[in-house]
């Protein structure tokens, strides 16, 4: 398996070269970072180059890094992460592309490269507010028809802002501010390295 990963790494270097902003190999997987400016051509190379041949886009999702490591994160806030698979070579690749602007995150759409990106991009737009220029039909997908906001952003509360109930007087469904209070039973903790390691304290 590891020789296969090495081969994939070499092929990536050979065909993408400077378009790779960062390459990491961890846990038996290769991830590359690509700038938004060269995202499209890099993706086309990944699909069409016979030595890479990623015919399938398995997954595409947004990630909001703003709360990463309780504020340790210094880079851009939004990233689009894609997982590619090659049926020919039987290998996988993760491509991460950060949106250049934090306030108006936008990453080029790759629907024309892999048609399966259609719904994945709609979902990332819906949940993270990442815009995909070039997408022909960027509507909300999972959230309600009149939903306001992008719920998977880290600053969006888990309980949301509005709740819905039937109002017997108006004889219709009404929205009102949420009445539940968010509670956290197990607090989120990030431990320093070597925590609890008595021998090397």
């Amino acid at each position: 398996m590891s020789t296969k990963l090495e081969l994939l790494g070499q092929n990536l270097q050979k065909h993408l070269g400077e378009r790779i902003a960062g390459l990491r190999t961890a846990l038996g997987e290769i991830s590359i970072d690509v700038d938004a400016a060269v995202y499209m051509e890099a993706m086309l190379k990944l699909r069409d180059e016979p030595e890479l041949r990623f015919e399938q886009l398995i997954d595409l999702c947004g990630v909001d890094y703003s709360a990463y490591g309780d504020g340790r994160w210094k880079g851009k806030r939004f990233a689009v992460v894609t997982h590619l698979t090659s049926v020919t070579h039987n290998w996988r690749l993760r491509v991460r592309c950060f949106a250049p602007d934090d306030d108006f995150p936008a990453v080029p759409s790759i629907v024309s490269v892999w048609n399966s990106a259609n719904w994945f991009e709609r979902e990332a737009f819906d949940l993270f507010g990442i815009v995909f220029p070039g997408h022909a039909d960027l509507r909300r997908l999972l959230c309600d028809y009149g939903f306001v906001g992008h719920p998977f952003r880290k600053d969006f509360p888990v309980s949301g802002y509005v709740e819905m109930r039937y109002d017997p007087e108006q004889k219709r469904v009404v929205y009102q501010p949420v009445s539940i209070e968010p509670r956290e039973i197990t607090p989120r903790t990030v431990r320093e390295e070597n925590y609890g390691n008595v021998e090397n304290a």
């Binding site: 997987e29 398995i58 997954d59 990463y68 490591g69 049926v87 996988r92 399966s116 197990t186």
Partner: protein, 417 residues
């Protein structure tokens, strides 16, 4: 002659053939579909957001509720992801148990497929037969986990407990008594593995029965052959996985190509279709049931011969044995830390995929070193397949829409998440 225009039909979300809560806006030209626009999200629970506020183990039961017809396969993907990040491996016996239950789950899912698909297409009796067999399999679920669906049986590091030595028996009642009761309890008199063995020996004959009912059935073939054809190139473009990809002629099965757990030690075949239509996908699923049965048989034989631990002994991941906690200070502390704070998963990211009955089910996890996932993305096969439905149903009749939806085997729990 009056001017006939295209009109739009709203299919679902409360429609028995919509397999859950699918709202499909169909644009029709007479009875021919010119465009299909699925509206999903009616079952969106925000699983991925919710697990960001749960510890790594608390997040596990959410996986059952994704694809609620193949529960343990989803758990498997999640557990593999966490285990890979932690750098641990489940004991071999646990891996065999997982594989066995993955295949039981595949049978459950494919049986439901054949039942509900039959129902959609007009073969009412299939549902009744399929549910009869599913009953035995959900009893297996119940025997190991206490629940019939949402098992939460796999844990990071292994499985919750070993297979039981006895099966619960039917009690005498107004409906079950005398010779019938005795007959029902006969298979349940031994251990769990005896019960499963009894099922596995019966099952090939049962699949034969299904095939006599359907495979050469004239109506069945008229409804399925050449309906919803996916060419190999389009299957790749549309992100089809699992049976959708195999039906189009690719021998692509993660259990063989990128084996996880102990699949590389087991002997089974990958059924492949030729034309990529609904009928081929039906045949592939029928064949997969036979293969699953073979795998379960091999697992039973191995598990009978090889007792051993079923969860790893790393007490930072899995709780120490109950007896140890009563007498051992360290075990007590480990247990307290695990239950109050949970596992800490090292910083990093991982994508782990398993061959779910409905396609590739993947879990992409980002951890920042906390006791909770930072981001968890669930990739489900049915999501990509439903996205492709516009292309599949175009030019077909309305009745074929029902056949195609039933055939791509979608479950809304994993589409809406």
């Amino acid at each position: 002659m009056p001017d006939i225009q295209n009109y739009t039909l709203n299919f679902g979300p409360q429609h028995p053939a919509a397999h859950g809560v699918l709202r499909l806006v169909l644009e029709l030209d007479g009875e021919v579909v010119t465009r299909a626009d699925p509206h999903i999200g009616m079952l969106h629970r925000g699983t991925e957001k919710l697990v960001e506020t749960k510890t790594w183990v608390q997040a596990l039961p959410y996986m059952d509720r994704l694809d609620y017809m193949s529960m343990m396969c989803s758990e498997h993907a999640y557990c593999l992801a966490v285990e890979r990040m932690l750098g641990i491996e489940a004991p071999v016996r646990a891996q065999y148990i997982r594989v066995m239950f993955d295949e039981i789950t595949r049978l459950l899912s494919h049986l439901l497929f054949i039942g509900s698909h039959g129902l959609d297409v007009g073969a009412m009796s299939m549902m009744l037969y399929a549910v009869r067999e599913r009953e035995d399999l959900v009893d297996c679920y119940e025997a190991v986990s206490g629940t019939r669906w949402h098992a939460a049986y796999y844990r990071p590091g292994g499985v919750y407990r070993d297979l039981p030595d006895s099966m619960p028996q039917y009690k005498e009642s107004k409906w079950k008594n005398g010779a019938r009761l005795k007959q029902l309890n006969e298979a349940r008199s031994g251990s769990f593995l005896d019960f499963l063995q009894d099922f596995v020996s019966r099952f090939p004959k049962i699949v034969d029965d299904y095939e006599t009912l359907l495979t050469d059935n004239r109506i069945w073939k008229q409804r399925l052959v050449d309906v919803g054809v996916v060419s190999p190139e389009r299957a790749l473009q549309l992100g089809c996985t699992g049976v959708m990809l195999r039906g189009s002629g690719f021998a692509w099965d993660l259990r063989k190509k990128q084996p996880y757990a102990v699949y590389d030690r087991l002997d089974f075949d990958i059924p492949v279709g030729a034309t990529g239509d609904c009928y081929d996908r039906y045949l592939v699923r029928i064949n997969e049931m036979r293969q699953s049965n073979r795998i379960i048989q091999q697992c039973i034989d191995w598990l009978r011969a090889n007792p051993g631990p079923v969860i790893c002994d790393n007490y930072k991941v899995a709780p120490p044995p109950r007896a140890g906690m009563k007498s051992n200070m360290e075990a007590l502390i480990h247990h307290f830390k695990l239950c109050s704070e949970g596992i800490h998963v090292p910083e990093g990211e991982v994508y782990s995929a398993v061959e779910n009955p409905k396609g590739e089910f993947g879990v992409y996890v980002v951890s920042d070193g906390a006791n909770k996932p930072y981001r968890l993305k669930i990739r489900s096969g049915a999501y990509a397949h439903l996205a492709a439905i516009d292309e599949l149903v175009r030019g077909h009749m309305i009745a074929d829409v029902v056949a195609i939806i039933g055939n791509i085997d979608i479950i809304f729990g994993e589409i809406d998440r």
